[in-house]
Amino acid sequence: MDNKPVLELKGVSKNFGAVQALYNVDFTCRAGEVMALVGDNGAGKSTLIKGIAGIYKLDAGEVFFEGKPVTITSPRDTADLGIEVVYQDLALADNLDVVANMFLGREALTRGILLDEAKMEQEALETLQSLSVTTIRSVRQAVAGLSGGQRQAIAVAKAVMWNSKLVILDEPTAALGVAQTRQVLDLVRRLADRGLAVVIISHNLHDIFEVADRITCLRLGQKVAEFIPSETTQQEVVHAITAGELDTVPGMVQ
């Protein structure tokens, strides 16, 4: 696919005090493609996507969305661009029901101020059905009562319900059993086939080789390699993750 990148980061950096979480990272993802982001614990994967999402302010670098330079300073900005993020910790409000969670921050209203509960319930049901999420008994039950896989499904459904162009998933299968992992990977593939750009973070290379079109590898906050699964092996990727070549960062202890 030689289409233009949906999202392009050039030379982004982020540090937390003395910790250089990201250094001079380039990153792209394209429509209809699944881009996997791999790296060891603490490599900076979550930091990178939180930077994209507007949770953290990036210290340096440029961000382009559909070719245009953008500045993202809050989660609202991200949502307005059409970027949806499913976090590692999901960030669902346990005390609210499924519908309220799926619409949080974007509630449908009638007459300008009233919550349009019926409309929201209806649309939540439709989205869940379109994603073949069938295991949830009632969309009016509190999220706290759901299993890990169901919660993941709610979070993904929440992300695709909007007119999103890019969906980012941080370790969506980490806590899931075999069958539920299968469902989530199928879901990821379906999103890309719908023409969305998808970024998936995972530690499971087997899953990644199955679902990804490209792989970006981070190590200690730097991008050390980009792979195409069909042209590489898991060993090569593992090598990059653990021993990929680094630039010398000012002040870095080698």
């Binding site: 960030a91 974007r106 509630e107 009233l114 209806q122 379109s130 706290a144 007119n163």
Partner: protein
């Protein structure tokens, strides 16, 4: 929102199909919620029956059940309900406000001073004085909220400092403008707030409007759910709720009318209660309050301005404290160095918690302020009739609050273990 365009896929929808749940399904779902620790209003209703039973027995020959005492009870309930309504909002976001009693007192003292008449007086009209008092207290809430969110200091500490500081302000104001430390409210309208009663026919008119309004909303909601093919609760339950409300409220109005009638002050508190109930349940702001209480991080990522919601809740609690403060001052006819002291703080927070609003944030209803205030005021009223001394009263009040907190902690634990909230 207008940009609600969805990446929707075609396909038949099989939602609730616009079908009614059967009564059995509804009752089963309700019972499994209770078993899971989501007790709703059940503990408070049992508590209310228990307390009325106990004092009805102990103070029976002291006319606990007389219409006169019942109307007195309604007067007592009014002030606590108003203050507790504000408390519910701070509890919902998982915070606490210990300053409410004295903030309310700052409000009522401000109002009383502005109402002083004669050459030396300020001679403000009642509406301006009341408005000014509400404005001042709302700004106090803004101040508390701003400090709590900007400095990241626990609300417990900030509002404890507020408790001390505002009690000092009450002392300064009352002693500065009167030697005796008591200032009499000189405006007939404000005095009437807690000393006037609805004409009997108006009691029934208000009653009719409320019941018809409730029934209309209920049926409107059923109709719009049916139109959207969503599942609907059984008709029997809707009718049961409407008739239940009609019977209870009807009895309440009828019995008050056999004495002096429905107090104006309880109507004022109920108007505010229903207003905030509406805000909490039907608006975006209310939804965000619950979200912030349930998971502030999720709220933040959803683009909600969490600090704004927090500040707004402290403003609501201070504002409602002034409403309650004014009602209480009106009842006494004056403000003094003692205004805002005593058990008022404890009673107001206890009312919200007893009513079923969790101290842990995220769960509770605005109506819990009224139910809780009924319990607290009944205890207070019963103990007054019995002529118990204040030592005993404090012990009993402490036990009631403890019981409520234990029920809260228990239901939270079993919710956690059964995975509901």
């Amino acid at each position: 929102m207008s940009d609600m365009t969805k990446a929707r896929q075609a396909g038949p929808i099989e939602a609730g199909g616009g079908k009614q749940q059967t009564l059995g399904e509804y009752v089963n779902a309700w019972w499994s919620r209770i078993k899971g620790g989501d007790l709703g209003s059940l503990p408070i209703i049992i508590g209310l029956i228990l307390i009325i039973g106990i004092f009805g027995y102990l103070a029976f020959d002291k006319n606990f059940f007389s219409a006169r005492n019942y109307v007195n009870l309604l007067l007592q309930v009014s002030g606590i309900t108003a203050i507790a309504t504000g408390v519910v909002f701070v509890l919902l976001i998982g915070e606490i406000d210990l300053s409410i009693a004295f903030v309310g007192a700052v409000g009522s003292v401000t109002m009383t001073l502005l109402l002083t008449q004669g050459e030396e007086g300020l001679n403000w009209p009642w509406y301006a004085a009341v408005g000014a008092a509400m404005l001042v207290t709302t700004l106090i809430g803004l101040l508390h909220g701003a400090i709590i969110t900007r400095a990241g200091v626990p609300s417990f500490v900030v509002t404890l400092a507020g408790l001390l500081a505002w009690s000092g302000v009450v002392l300064i104001l009352t002693t500065q403008y009167s030697k005796a430390g008591t200032i009499v409210i000189q405006d007939p309208v404000v005095k009437g707030v807690a000393n006037a009663f609805l004409p009997k026919i108006w009691g029934w008119i208000v009653y009719a409007v409320v019941i018809i309004g409730f029934a209309a909303t209920e049926f409107y909601q059923r109709a719009s759910k049916a139109r959207q093919n969503l599942s609907i609760k059984p008709m029997g339950i809707s009718l049961f709720q409407i008739i239940g409300l009609a019977v209870i409220a009807g009895a309440a109005v009828w019995y008050a009318n056999t004495d002096r009638g429905v107090p104006v002050s309880i109507m004022i508190s109920l108007v505010f209660l229903f207003f905030w109930l509406f805000i909490a349940n039907r608006t975006r702001f209310g939804r965000y309050v619950y979200a912030v209480g349930g998971n502030p991080e999720a709220a933040r990522r959803a683009g909600i301005n969490v600090n704004m919601i927090r500040i707004a809740c402290f403003m609501i609690s201070s504002f409602m404290a002034s409403v309650g403060g004014i009602i209480l001052a009106s009842r006494l006819g004056s403000v003094s160095t003692n205004t805002g002291g005593g058990n008022l703080l404890l009673n107001s927070i206890a009312a919200a918690v007893v009513g079923g609003t969790s101290l842990f944030g995220g769960t509770g209803r605005v109506t819990s302020a009224l139910l809780g205030a009924l319990v607290i005021a009944s205890v207070e009223n019963g103990m007054g009739l019995m002529g118990w001394n204040s030592g005993v009263k404090f012990v009993v009040n402490g036990m009631v609050l403890l019981a409520a907190v234990l029920v809260d902690a228990y239901s939270r634990r079993s919710r956690a273990s059964s995975g509901i909230a």
